[in-house]
């Protein structure tokens, strides 16, 4: 019998399995209980399945578990987005008068956030696979990832800028001068280039530090990079609009 009242010898027998699985739901979430290890070893149930049963088993309140775990992160993400929004709100009159930029805003936010997620998850996998060299800039896989993301980012940024300038011509007869069209195109390219570079180097710096501390970079890098993307995109966009217009 262990501290939590579970009889570890009993659960080694298959006939006690359903009861043992129910007991999983009573274990506090942050505890790495030996019961999980025993069930995995003795009954060959994958650790992921055991984790799922522990979190969302028949005796747990599924909605409450999810809300408890997700709310803090969602509120933090909202605060960061709101901070980015403060910058745009300050130049609102100017910003809403440039219709293509209004059309581009959600697309840019999505795009840059997605690049943050891709870079973070791919870098985390590379760190786990020990692919990243001590001199990280000499790692061919990292160079390839950077070039791929940069190329996709430039193509999609250019494409979305052009589409965003064409749409208002058809929807509201918006007449855009060549000079302004060039400015919008350049703003989009600079915004995406600056943020992709920031995201890439922040991911590497933070990822290496987190990995050295024997933590899983997956759990930290995605929230860090998506937050930088949200806040950064709107702040950089506001700055560029003030500079160019």
């Amino acid at each position: 019998m262990n501290g939590n009242g579970f009889h570890l010898k009993k659960i080694k027998l298959l006939k006690h399995l359903p009861k043992s699985l129910n007991q999983l739901t009573k274990i506090k979430r942050h505890k790495h209980h030996p019961l999980l290890h025993h069930l995995h070893k003795k009954h060959g149930i994958s650790r992921k399945t055991l984790l799922y049963i522990k979190e969302y088993g028949p005796h747990s309140h599924v909605a409450m578990v999810i809300i408890k775990e997700s709310l803090k992160v969602l509120l933090l993400a909202s605060i960061l987005s709101a901070f980015g929004g403060f910058a745009l709100e300050e130049i609102k009159t100017l910003f809403v008068s440039i219709i293509p930029l209004v059309i581009l805003l959600p697309a840019l936010n999505d795009m840059i956030g997605d690049y943050g997620t891709i870079v973070s998850s791919r870098l985390s996998t590379m760190l786990h696979e020990n692919v990243v060299q001590k001199k990280w800039w000499q790692t061919p896989e990292l160079k390839e990832l950077f070039v791929q993301i940069a190329v996709v980012a430039m193509i999609t940024a250019a494409l979305s800028a052009v589409i965003a300038m064409i749409i208002p011509v058809f929807t509201s007869g918006y007449d855009i001068a060549l000079g302004n069209a060039m400015k919008i195109f350049v703003i989009t390219i600079i915004d995406v280039a600056v943020l992709v570079s920031i995201l890439f180097f922040t991911s590497i710096y933070a990822g290496l530090r987190i990995y050295k501390k024997k933590e899983d970079p997956n759990n930290f890098l995605i929230p860090i990079t998506t937050s930088i993307a949200d806040f950064g995109n709107m702040a950089v966009l506001a700055l560029l609009v003030m500079l160019f217009f």
Binding site: L74, A82, F86, V96, L159
Partner: protein
């Protein structure tokens, strides 16, 4: 160095889907600028509101996908305790986070412009409820459908949900404006 490989194609096509949704949402914003964006505090609210939808629906789809792969969620269109719990959580999270965003926008407009606009708190909450009506069943059906067709929903649902989430959120905000 191989640049134009399978990874490049996957990233590129998922981004095209994501941009498509973002541009549609942006077009709605541009058409209804006078009704939406000119409201004080709206530029603080909208980016967070759009992002929240993707985050909530994305994690909902990801949990259902994990459940499907582990066998604890059956690939059938009937609601089990686990699915219902997930749906309730996604709905409630949407309402709580929307109200929070509304409060931030309200505080900002009050302290910087001296404008009292309580409407900005209620607006995202109603919009979140309306968006939930579309997004939550859509996420559930699409995840199950993709799994039944032999796809990994994790690879497809992310960009799909950010696109649909952007469009339905902006429409939700516009309908909420009409209601209020």
């Amino acid at each position: 160095m191989k640049i134009f490989d399978k990874n490049f194609k996957e990233i590129f096509f998922s981004q095209l889907v994501s941009i498509f949704g973002g541009l549609i949402a942006g077009t709605f914003l541009a058409i209804y600028t006078d009704k939406l964006l000119l409201i004080p505090g709206m530029l603080i609210l909208i980016p967070g509101f759009l992002e929240m939808r993707g985050n909530i629906s994305g994690t909902f789809a990801s949990r259902i996908s994990s459940g499907l792969f582990l066998g604890v969620v059956k690939p059938k269109y009937h609601e089990t305790k686990l699915v219902k719990g997930n749906m309730w959580a996604a709905t409630l999270l949407g309402i709580i986070v929307s109200a929070f965003l509304g409060l931030i926008a309200f505080a900002f407009t009050y302290f910087t412009m001296g404008t009292l606009a309580p409407k900005i708190i209620l607006l995202p909450v109603i919009a979140a409820l309306l968006t939930d009506l579309i997004e939550i069943p859509l996420t559930w059906f699409a995840t199950i459908w993709l799994f039944r067709k032999g796809h990994d929903p994790n690879n497809i649902m992310g960009p799909f949900l950010t696109s649909t989430g952007d469009v339905s959120s902006v429409i939700g905000l516009l309908v909420a404006m009409v209601i209020l």
